[in-house]
Amino acid sequence: VSLPWIAVVLLAGWSLDTSGALAPPSSGAWLWLAAGSLAMLASRGRERERPLDRRGLLWLLPAAALTPALGTRWVLWSWLLALAAVVGLACARWPRLRFLATGLATTSLVLGAQAAATALHEGLGAQAHWIPGLAPASAACLRLLGLQAGSVDGVVLVSGMEGVQRFIPSWDHLGLLPLGSIAAGAVPLLWLHGSRLLLRSLALVAVLALYAAARFLTLIVTFGWHGDVRVFWSTTAVVVSFLPVAWLLARVAPLGALEASFLPERELVPGARPLARVMGAAACASFLLAGALGLRDPGLPKAGRVLFDERHSDWEWTEEPFDTERYGLRTSYNYFNLYDHLDHYFRLSRTHEPLSDELLAEHDVLVLRTPTEPFAEAELAALQRFVERGGGLWLIGDHTNVFGSGEYLNAVAERFGIRFQYDCTYDLSTGSLNLYRAPEVLAHPVVSRLPPFLFATSCTVRADWPYEAVMVGTSLNVLPADYGQPNFFPAKGPRQDGQIGSFLQAAARRHGAGRVLAFTDSTVFSNFFMYLPGKPELALGSIDWLNRTNRLPELGTPLALLGLATLAWTLVGARGLRRGWSLPLIAAGSGVGLLAALALSDASVALAHPPLEPRRPARRVHFDLEHSGIFLPILRLQGPEDNDWATFYTWTQRIGLVPTAERELERCLAGDGLVLLADPVRELESAELEALRRFVAGGGGLLVLLGERGLPDASDALLESFGLAAGEPAEEPTILPAPFELVDVAAARPIHGGRELLVGSQGRRVGAWVGLGGGRVVVVGCGGIFSAAQMGSVSVEPSPRQREIYELEYALLRFGLGEDVPAFEGTRDAPAPALETR
C-alpha cells in the first residue's frame, strides 16, 4: 500500500535534483527517476481491465509533442505522457500492457505536478527562507539533548569538541521544496483513488507538516553531533529522510480502490462539449499562470542618455584610465572599460554634482554603483521623482555592505521597495564562486541573451511584491557580513553553514513610469572581468531594459489572480467528467496553454529587445578556446594547476582592444580583428585551416603563442599552412632582444620560416611573421611568459621584468593588427632562413 507513496517521494528526488535549488543537479537524478518509475509501475498491477479509448489517447499526443520546448523537466513529463499514450494504444492488441500504460501515465502526471510545484518554488522561493523563532526553538531542542547550543540573530550555534558549529535554519532546512513536490505529486493520486478527497488531503497536509518538524529535529540532532551541515541539503539525505513519510501517508491517506484509470477509458467517454470545456479551461489557466511570470510590458525605448554618478563612490572608478602606464588595484577594480563599452551603444556622461531634478531630467538612465558616501535627502527625493517620471535607475551593490555601500544604496533602494542584504553568496557544494545560468524559458529581458555567468561574490537582494526576479541564483550558501574581517567577508572563508537554497541576485521593480534594477555584484564589471563572457551581455541587457518607459500597468498580479480563478473553474468543470478522463484532459490542456504562454513571452522579449547595434565599432581580439590550452575564469575561478591567461586577456584592454573568448574558432572568424591561439592543445582541421587563411587574407590578424603548456604537435599543421614551423624547445634560457631584454624565457621554441620578428640570445629566432593578403600571421615561440604565473595577477604592481613582458604583449598585438611597431622595425625585413621542419 505504500508503493505509490514511495514512488511519489522518489520522484520528488528527481524534481529536487534537476531543479538544482539546493544541491546542484547531478546524474543521480536519473536514479531517483528510475526507482520512482519502477515503484509506480509495480503499484499498478491490480487494475480493472477496461478497454482504453483510442480518441482520448490521441488527445495526449499533441500536448506531448509540443512540450519539448518548455525545458528539461517538462520534456520528461511530455515524453512519458506520449509513451503512455502509445502503450495505451497498444493495449488494444496486448491488454497485459495496460499496467505499463497506466504506470507511465501516473508517473508522468506526478512528475508534471511536481514540476509545477518546483517552478512555483523557483518563482517565489527565492525570498521564502526566514522562519521567525525557528533558530531559538532549534537551539532549545539541542539543549534538551545536552548540547551547548544557543542562537544569535537567527543563527544556531552549537559549541563542543567539534568546534563551534553554525547553521541558519530556514524553510529550506525544513524541506519546503521536497515537501511541496511530495504534496503536488500526491494530488493526481488522491484525485483518482477513492472518495473523501478533501478529508484525505487535509490529513496528508497535516502528516507532511508533522513529519517535516520531526525530520527537522532529527536532522539538527544529527548536525549537532556530527557537525555536517550537508544533512540538510544533499539530495540523497533529503530523499532518504523523507522516505518514511510514504509509510505514514499510506496509513492516513490510503489509496482506496482505483476510481478510474489514469488513461481515458472507452466506457466513460464524455461528450464533446464538456471535453472541450475542460481542456480549454485548463489551457487558459496554465496560459494565464505562466503569463503572470513571463508577460511583461516591454516599454517604450528612450534616447539612451546614461549618467554615471561619480560623486558618491570612491570605488570602481570610471575616470581612471586603463592604459599601459598605470597598474595596481585602482586600475583593476575600475569601471573604465564598462563605461567605454556602454559608450559604444549609448550616450554616456559622468557627474560629480549633487543629483538634482535639473541634472536628472537630461538623462534616461542613472547608474549608482557601490556608493561610499551617503545621499542627501534632497537627492533621494530627486531620484524618486526621476524614476516616477520614467527614468531608469541601475543600482549596483556588492557583498557584505562593503564600504557601507549596502547601507548607502538601501537609502535609495528602499524608496522603491528593494533592499540589499548585508551578506555574501557562495556555491553551496563547492564553497567557490557561484555560476548563474539563465532559465531556459521565461528569462527576464535583462538576461535573455546571457551565457553562463560567473559571479564574483554577490550579496542577495529582497524586493516587495510585485517584483521581477531578474536573476535567481540556485544552490547558494549565503553568509552574513562579519564586520571584524577585511571587506567584511565571513571569517574562515566560505563555509556551508549559512542560509541555503535559491536567492535573488538581481531584482527589478517598476515605479511610476520608470524602472529600477538592483544588481548585487559590482566586481563582475571591473576591468579584469568586464570582457569575459556574460559580463558585456549583462551590462547591455540592463541598460537596454532600463532605457524604457512603462506603458502598461504591472501585469503579473492580475494575470495570476485570473489564472487561479480559471484553474478553480477548470477543476469544478472537471468534476462533471469521469475521473479517468479529467486528469489526462487537464494535463493535455495545460501543456498547450503553457506552451502558448511561454512561446508568447519569449517571443515578445526577443522582439522587444533585439541585439543592440553599436554606435561605433570596436577593435577586437578573439581568443580561440577551442584549440588553445589556456584558462580564463569564465565558468570558475582559476586554480593552481590552470594555465591562467586572465592577465594577458585583460591587458589587451589597456591598448584599446576588446577581447572576446570564444568556444569555437568559427565564431572568432565571424568578425574582424585579431584571432589569438595560445598554447594549442588541439590540431586544426583542414576546413578550419582554410577558413583561417581566408580570414587572414581578408585583412584579419592571427597571433600564435607557443608555450610549454601546449601540445608540441598541435600547432604543426597550422604553422605549416602559413609556411612556418616550430623547432624543439631550447634547453637553456633565452634572453629576448631590446627593448625586452629583461625577459628571460625557459624552453623557448625557435620559429622557422617567414620573416624574422624576435631574435633572442644565441641568435635564437623565437618570433616570426608572414603577410597574407591584407593580414598578418605572427608566431612566437616563447608564449609561456604570458601566463599569469609570469605576468602576475590583474591587480599586480609589476616588476621591471613584468613591465617588459607587458610591452611585448602590446607590441605583438599591435603588430598582429597591422600596425607599425617601433620595437620590431629593425627585424621586419631581415631575410628569412630556409624552412626547416621538425
Binding site: S151, L157, M161, G484
Partner: protein, 417 residues
C-alpha cells in the same frame, strides 16, 4: 600519582616500571596515538570516582604519552578507543625516541590503557602514561578531571561506592519485580522499564558534590561561564576557543575554571567572565548575577552589538547599551598601553560612574563601572577574548595580553579582586 611520558623520554621508564611492578602497571616504550586526529572522540573513562560528573563529555586534555600494560591488582581508568601504540625509536634520542606516528604492522591497534589505578594496602596508586593533563595550560581545560584524580587519591570513596551499589541493587530488584508481575502484562512491563531508564541512564556514580577548593592566598577565583550557549570550542587551542584566556588569567593570579555551573560558584566572589551568551538569562539568573556583583564580584562581559539579544539583555540589565554601528577591527590606547579589537561597537549607554578604558573613533568601546561592592567591566567586542585576539597555541597579541594584565592590576588596586 605517577605521571609518565611517551617512549622512555628522560630515562623515566625503567625506574617507574621498577616502582610500579608490585601494582601491576608498566609504561610501554611507545606513544599512544588516537586513530583519528585528536583524542576528542577516542577516550573512554571507565565508571569510577574519577569519572564523577564527567558524563557530559568534559574534556580530558591528553597529549602524547605512553600506553600502559595493566594487570591485576591494577585496573584501567582511562583508555584510548580506538588507538594505536606507535613504537618508539631508540635511535631518535633527540626527538624523545618518538616513532613515526603512523601505524605499522605489529603495533598494537584497538583499545589502549592510558591511565590505571590500584590499591595497595590502605593507599592508592594512580598512573598516567602522559603528563599533559596536569600541565599549567591544561588545568583550565580539564580541571574537573584533575580535581577528581586528586580527590580519589586523597579521599574516601566508601560512601559514593555504597550509594552506587545500592542504586544498582534497587534498580535490579524493581526490574525483576516488574518482570515477574508484568510478564503477562506487557504494558506494565514496558512502562516500568521506561520509568527506570532515566534512573539507570543517570549513572548513580555521577552523584556527588564537586571538590571544595581553598585557594592559596595569592590567588583569586575566576570562573568562565559556559552554561548559556556561549560559542567557543571545547578543544581549547582552536581559533574559536579560550585556551589563551585561561592561560592569561592563570598568569595574572586568577585560578580559573570554565563551567556550566557558574551560578554555583558565584558565592566564591572573584571574577566571572561572560563571553556573549546565546541563551537568554532568566530574570532570577540576572538578579543572582547582580547580587554577585553587588556583593563584591567582578563581571567581565565581552558583548558587541553582533552578539545577539541574549547578550545585549545581559549588559542592559546593568545599565549598559551597545550601539549597532560596527567600528570594525581597531587599535586604540587602553590602560596605559594599547589594545587591539576585532569587531568593536560603541558603548552608547553606561551606568553612573562609568570609567572609559578605550575609545575608537571618539567612542567608548571598553570601560568599567562600580556596582555595590563589585564592578562590571564591558568590552564591546564579542570576540575580544578568543584565542586569535589574545593568545593561541602558536601566536599571541601582546597588546591584549598586556591589557588583560593591566585590567587585573586595576581591579586589584581598586580592591575588587
Amino acid at each position: 600519582l605517577v605521571l609518565g611520558d611517551h617512549t622512555g623520554m628522560g630515562g623515566i621508564r625503567e625506574p617507574f616500571n621498577e616502582l610500579l611492578q608490585p601494582v601491576g602497571v608498566e609504561l610501554e616504550f611507545d606513544s599512544a596515538k588516537p586513530v583519528s586526529d585528536t583524542w576528542r572522540d577516542g577516550l573512554v573513562l571507565f565508571p569510577s570516582r574519577i569519572a564523577l560528573g564527567m558524563s557530559g563529555g568534559e574534556p580530558i586534555p591528553l597529549g602524547v604519552g605512553a600506553s600502559l600494560r595493566v594487570r591485576a591488582p591494577a585496573r584501567v581508568v582511562l583508555a584510548g578507543v580506538p588507538a594505536f601504540a606507535d613504537r618508539g625509536d631508540e635511535e631518535q634520542s633527540e626527538r624523545g625516541f618518538l616513532g613515526d606516528f603512523r601505524h605499522e604492522p605489529g603495533e598494537p591497534l584497538g583499545d589502549l590503557a592510558l591511565a590505571a589505578s590500584a590499591r595497595v594496602g590502605a593507599g592508592r596508586v594512580l598512573v598516567f602514561g602522559d603528563t599533559s593533563p596536569f600541565q599549567n595550560g591544561s588545568l583550565g581545560e580539564g580541571p574537573l578531571f584533575v580535581d577528581n584524580c586528586l580527590r580519589w587519591l586523597t579521599g574516601d570513596e566508601r560512601v559514593a561506592g555504597l550509594r552506587a551499589r545500592a542504586a544498582r541493587i534497587a534498580s535490579a530488584l524493581v526490574l525483576l519485580a516488574a518482570l515477574c508481575f508484568g510478564l503477562a502484562r506487557a504494558r506494565i512491563l514496558a512502562l516500568t522499564v521506561l520509568a527506570l531508564l532515566p534512573w539507570t541512564a543517570s549513572r548513580p556514580w555521577d552523584a556527588g558534590e564537586p571538590l571544595d577548593r581553598e585557594l592559596p592566598g595569592a590567588w583569586s577565583p575566576a570562573v568562565v561561564d559556559s552554561g548559556h550557549g556561549q560559542a567557543f570550542d571545547g578543544m581549547w587551542w582552536r581559533d574559536d576557543s579560550i585556551g589563551g584566556l585561561h592561560q592569561n588569567l592563570l598568569r595574572n593570579g586568577l585560578w580559573v575554571d570554565t563551567t556550566r555551573e557558574a551560578a554555583r560558584r558565584l558565592g566564591e566572589g572573584g571574577l566571572l567572565v561572560m563571553l556573549p551568551p546565546t541563551v537568554r538569562l532568566s530574570r532570577s539568573e540576572l538578579e543572582e548575577l547582580e547580587g554577585f556583583v553587588r556583593g563584591g564580584g567582578v563581571l567581565l562581559a565581552t558583548v558587541g552589538a553582533d552578539a545577539g539579544e541574549a547578550a545585549l539583555e545581559l549588559v542592559r540589565w546593568f545599565g549598559f547599551e551597545v550601539a549597532p554601528s560596527p567600528l570594525g577591527p581597531a587599535q586604540c590606547d587602553a590602560l596605559g598601553g594599547r589594545m587591539e579589537l576585532v569587531s568593536a561597537y560603541p558603548v552608547a549607554g553606561a551606568p553612573a560612574g562609568f570609567v572609559s578604558m578605550a575609545r575608537v573613533f571618539d567612542q567608548d568601546v571598553a570601560g568599567w563601572a562600580r556596582l555595590g561592592r563589585g564592578a562590571l567591566v564591558l568590552i564591546a567586542d564579542s570576540r575580544f577574548l578568543l584565542n586569535p585576539n589574545l593568545e593561541g597555541g602558536e601566536a599571541h597579541v601582546v597588546e591584549n595580553v598586556e591589557f588583560l594584565r593591566s585590567l587585573v592590576e586595576l581591579l586589584r588596586e581598586e580592591d575588587l579582586l
